[in-house]
C-alpha cells in the first residue's frame, strides 16, 4: 500500500511538473500570434469585454480570423477564437442565432445563408455602420458585386472578406505522362479520367466533394447552373425540377461515378483534399479556399505536381462553367450583447488592405484589384472562374430548398431511387419549402 502510494505520489508530481513546464509553451504559436498586425483602434469599452468569434478553419479563412483576433485584442477587448471544422460552424451558427442571447459576437457567414438569416432578422443590418466607417477603413474598395451578394432586401448583412469559387486542381505530372490537357467539358473530363485509369493506374481519378448530408447539393446546383437552369424561379415562385435539365443533372452525376471513389458520398472537402494528398485522385474540383493546402509540401509529396484551371462546362454548349461563386464575410448577430459599433470596427479592420494582402495566396480577397494572375498558382484559374459562374439565387427559400432536396439527390446518386422518381420528389419538397418561406 505504501509503495503504491509512493508511486502515485511520484506520478502525480511528474504530471504536475510536466504540465507546468509545458505550460510555458502552451498556445505560444497560436496562428493569431503569428498573424499580420493591422490598425484596429476601437474605443475602450466600459468594462473588459470578451468577443467570441465563430469561424471554421481553412487556409483561406484563417488569415482573416487570425488578423482580427491578434490586432483587435487590446484596450480591454479580448477576442477569442476556437478551432472548429465546417460542419461545426454550421451547427453552432444555427444554435447561436436561435435564441434571445447567443455565445458568439462575430460570425463567419457566406452568401448562401444571407437571405435566410436576413429574412429572419437574425443578423444586424450594417448599412449605417458601413457609411459611417467607409472612409476610415476604405470600405468602398470592397467589390460592389460581393457586397451585393451579402445584401438582402436592400440591407447589407455581412462585410465581405473574400470570394470563393470552384477551381479544378489536377496532377500536372500525370497529365503530362499520358499526354492530356485540362478538360473543358464533362465529356473531356470523363475521357481524361478513363485514360488515367488505363495508363496511369489511378483507379478513381475524379475527386469531388459529394457528402450526402451537405456538399452533394452544391455539386448538383453547379451542374444545373451550368446547364442553364436555377433551382427555383423567383418570379413564378416555382421549383425547376420538372424541367428536363433537372433529371439530366442527376444523370451526369451518376455518369461520373465509375471514375470516383465508391465512398465519395462520405467525402466533404477535407476528404477530397486527402485524396489528392494521397495521390489517389488526379482531378479535383472544389472551392478555391482549399487550394492553398494542396501546394504545401508539409501536407503531401505531390505538392509541387499540382496545376490549376477553371472548372469545365457540363455540356459543350453550356454558357456557364460547373462552378459557383460564394462570398465569405463577417456578420454581427442581432442577439449579441457587445456594442455593435465596436464589433463593426473589428470586422472592418480585418478586411483592410493590409489584411487582404496578407491573406494571399490562400484567399481571393473581396477588395477590388488585389488578385492578379501571378498572385498565386491558382489566381489565373480563379480570375477566369469568377466571371463564368452560374448566377446565385439569393431568395429566402433557397437554403431550405437545398436542405430538403439533399437527401433525395443522395438517394438518386446512391442508386436507391431512379432519377425519374428523384426529380418528382425534389419538385414536391421544393414546392413545399417555397410555400413555407413567408
Amino acid at each position: 500500500m505504501r509503495t503504491s502510494l509512493r508511486t502515485n505520489g511520484a506520478l502525480a508530481l511528474t504530471a504536475v511538473a510536466a504540465l507546468g513546464l509545458a505550460a510555458c509553451g502552451a498556445g505560444s504559436k497560436t496562428a493569431s500570434s503569428t498573424a499580420a498586425q493591422v490598425t484596429c483602434d476601437v474605443a475602450k469599452p466600459s468594462k473588459p469585454t470578451t468577443v467570441n468569434v465563430l469561424a471554421y478553419n481553412s487556409s483561406a479563412i484563417d488569415p482573416y480570423t487570425n488578423t482580427m483576433v491578434s490586432s483587435c485584442s487590446k484596450n480591454d477587448y479580448t477576442l477569442k477564437h476556437e478551432p472548429i471544422d465546417f460542419p461545426g460552424q454550421v451547427q453552432k451558427t444555427t444554435a447561436t442565432l436561435a435564441g434571445a442571447s447567443g455565445t458568439y459576437d462575430i460570425v463567419e457567414t457566406y452568401g448562401f445563408v444571407i437571405p435566410q438569416y436576413g429574412s429572419q432578422n437574425k443578423l444586424a443590418p450594417l448599412n449605417d455602420l458601413f457609411t459611417k466607417y467607409a472612409d476610415s477603413y476604405k470600405l468602398n474598395d470592397i467589390s460592389k458585386d460581393m457586397r451585393a451578394a451579402m445584401t438582402y432586401d436592400g440591407k447589407l448583412y455581412a462585410l465581405p472578406m473574400q470570394a470563393q469559387m470552384y477551381i479544378m486542381a489536377y496532377r500536372k505530372d500525370v497529365f503530362d505522362q499520358v499526354g492530356l490537357q485540362p478538360p473543358k467539358t464533362f465529356e473531356e473530363m470523363k475521357t481524361a479520367a478513363k485514360t488515367i485509369q488505363e495508363k496511369a493506374g489511378i483507379k478513381y481519378p475524379i475527386a469531388l466533394p459529394w457528402l450526402a448530408t451537405g456538399d452533394i447539393v452544391t455539386s448538383y446546383d453547379c451542374i444545373l447552373g451550368s446547364l442553364g437552369v436555377n433551382l427555383t424561379n423567383f418570379d413564378t415562385k416555382t421549383a425547376n425540377f420538372d424541367k428536363p435539365q433537372a433529371k439530366q443533372a442527376l444523370d451526369e452525376m451518376i455518369a461520373l461515378k465509375p471514375f470516383m471513389d465508391p465512398q465519395v458520398t462520405t467525402f466533404a472537402q477535407p476528404a477530397v483534399q486527402q485524396q489528392m494528398y494521397n495521390g489517389t485522385g488526379a482531378i479535383a474540383i472544389m472551392f478555391s479556399g482549399r487550394m492553398n493546402d494542396l501546394t504545401l509540401e508539409k501536407n503531401s509529396k505531390y505538392a509541387k505536381s499540382f496545376a490549376f484551371a477553371a472548372p469545365p462546362k457540363v455540356a459543350a454548349d453550356s454558357a456557364k462553367l460547373y462552378d459557383t461563386l460564394s462570398v465569405d464575410g463577417w456578420s454581427i448577430p442581432n442577439n449579441t450583447a457587445v456594442d455593435k459599433d465596436a464589433l463593426f470596427q473589428m470586422i472592418a479592420s480585418s478586411v483592410s488592405e493590409e489584411a487582404s494582402k496578407a491573406s494571399l495566396p490562400a484567399a481571393y480577397p473581396a477588395r477590388s484589384g488585389m488578385v492578379s494572375d501571378s498572385s498565386s498558382p491558382y489566381a489565373a484559374a480563379a480570375n477566369v472562374s469568377i466571371t463564368s459562374a452560374p448566377p446565385a439565387e439569393p431568395y429566402p427559400w433557397t437554403a431550405d430548398v437545398s436542405n430538403k432536396i439533399t437527401p433525395i439527390i443522395a438517394n438518386a446518386v446512391l442508386g436507391k431511387i431512379t432519377t425519374d422518381e428523384a426529380v418528382v420528389q425534389m419538385q414536391q419538397a421544393a414546392t413545399a419549402a417555397i410555400a413555407a418561406a413567408k
Binding site: 448530408t213 485524396q275 494521397n278
Partner: protein, 288 residues
Amino acid sequence: MKKREFWMLVTPSLVVMVGLLAVPLYRTIEWSLQNVNYGDPGTFIGLSNYTTALTDPRFGRAVVFTVGLTLVVTAILLVLGYLLAVAVNRLHRMRPIVLGLLLLAYVIPGLVGATMFSWLFDSNFGGPVNYLIAHVTGQDLLWFTDTWPNRVVLTLNIVWFLLPFAMLVILAGLQSVNPEVLEAAKIDGAGPFRLHWNVIIPSVSGVIGFVILISLMDVLRVFDPLVALSPQAAAIGNESIMFYIYSVAFKDGGQQLGLGSAINVLLIIIIGIMLIPSIRATAREGSR
C-alpha cells in the same frame, strides 16, 4: 438511526438529485407535450408530438436499428466476455498486466476511442484494416458508405469498449464458483464444455444477468461512437435513437424541442420494456 439525523445526512444529496435529475425529467415530459424552444414558455399541444414521432419512418428505423444493435452487442459481449474471463482466470502473475491492457479500451473516453477506431477503417485516411482486407481478399469494403459494413464497425467499436467491463464482472463472478462442486463434476467425468455449460455458468448467472442489464441499458442509449464512426447515420439507416434526438432537439438550435422530448420519453419507455426481465431477475437476486 433517528429520523432527524437521517434526513440531515441525506438532504444535500437529495436536493441536488431532485433539482438536477427529477426536475429536468419532469421538464422533458412537460416539453414533450408542447411546441417549445429553449427559453420559450412553450404552447401546449397535447399528444401531437407523440403522434408525429410514432408515424415518422425515421423514428421507426432508429428504433429497429438501436434495438437490433443492442441485442447483437449484448450477445457478443456475453460470449466473448465469458471466454476472456475464463482465459484471464488462468493467469497468475500476468493478470494485472493483461487486465491493464484490456482495461484501456474501457477507460478511454468513448468519443476518443471511436475516433481512433475510425482511422483504422477509413481507407481514404490510410486505414490499415482496409489495406489488409484488400491485400488478402481484394475486396474493398465501404465502411462508412454502406449500411451493413458500417453496422459491423459500430458493433466492433461498442464491443471494444464494453468488453473489459463484461470480462471483469464475469471474472469477479468466477471467483465465487465453489471449487468443490467443480472437483465433483470433474470426477464425474464432465468434459470442459459440460463443465462450463452445466456447472460454471449457472453459478455465475447473477453476474451474467448484471452484464446483460448494463449492456442493454448502455447500448440502447449509444451516442458517442456514432459521432465519429457514422456521420452519415441518418442517410444509411444507422441512426441510433439518441443521435436522432440530438439532431432534432439540439443541433438546429432546438427548433423541434417538443418532438425531441417526446422521443426522449418514448426511449425511456423502450428502455423500461427491455429491462423488465433483467430488473425482475436482479430484484429476485437481491432479495435472496
